[in-house]
Subunit: 136 residues, 2 copies
DNA sequence: TTTCATTTTTGTAATGATTACACTTTTAAT
DNA sequence: ATTAAAAGTGTAATCATTACAAAAATGAAA
């Protein structure tokens, strides 16, 4: 099992208390939290934590490829510690954000472009909301 | 050629002067503009136009499927009048946003999910920026 | 272990996109 | 022409994010 410290080290990010806490939270809560989610979750046990630090740390983690920033939610950026290839699904009923298997893709003509990164975002109804609708 | 009015009518949106102007601008300027881009472009010839109206009209267009909202840019939502299936590429050097051919995708296991919409976002270097880097 | 430079964190203030809201104007049907 | 509904407008509020300067922590050198 890879710990937060290992991940920080392997991305050349010095493992400060705050960085460890934030990455640890992301690793243990795969809910694609927003900055606010993270701040509110950690604040009780780290009262001195500043929201600016959460922003700073996350920018650092994203820039160094340790964490993904998801822009599927128009309001807030969401963060994901799972950097393996996978897609995301956002339910238009309940707003929930799910991990979903990455489709196998045959790229079209992308001549001249150097592609470094792909994000696939789905929108629709999640299983829970489909069921609720069918019961009505 | 489909006009702005045709598109509005076919999506059951009443064709007001402002709606026509905004959709026409989107149809004729395939640059994925932001709200501000659109407002600044139209303001000279429509001095009474309000930015709130631009927001309202775009929300209406998106909700009725006449226009796409792109969240590839973390700062602003960008709008696209091309609702045909295509992907988007954002250059990490110059920030430019390109249309790009939609990959042919074989969906993985999405049992239970009702998928209504897919967006594929690419990041990397655009041909211009690749060239510039190679010349250095 | 003291010193000092560098990095990191912190809190407050600013920014900037978006929305709320109340009022005015336009539209379309009678 | 009258009138009710829809659409547009301008200002003020909201809220995520960033800027910035001061404080704290870190780590290397003496």
């Amino acid at each position: 099992m890879t710990t937060a410290i290992d991940i920080l080290n392997s991305h050349n990010i010095r493992p400060s208390v705050q960085r460890i806490a934030i990455l640890k939270y992301l690793l243990e809560h795969r809910i694609h939290p927003t900055v606010d989610d993270i701040y509110l979750a950690l604040n009780p046990t780290m009262p001195t934590l500043s929201k600016t630090t959460v922003y700073n740390v996350l920018r650092n983690l994203v820039e160094n490829g340790a964490v993904l920033a998801l822009t599927i939610d128009e309001k807030n950026v969401r963060y994901d510690a799972d950097t393996n290839s996978h897609a995301h699904f956002r339910c238009q009923c309940c707003g929930e954000l799910y991990d979903i298997e990455q489709p196998t893709m045959a790229l079209g003509n992308t001549t001249g472009f150097e592609i470094e990164n792909v994000h696939v975002y789905y929108w629709g109804k999640c299983p829970k909301c489909v069921q609720i609708r069918n019961k009505e």
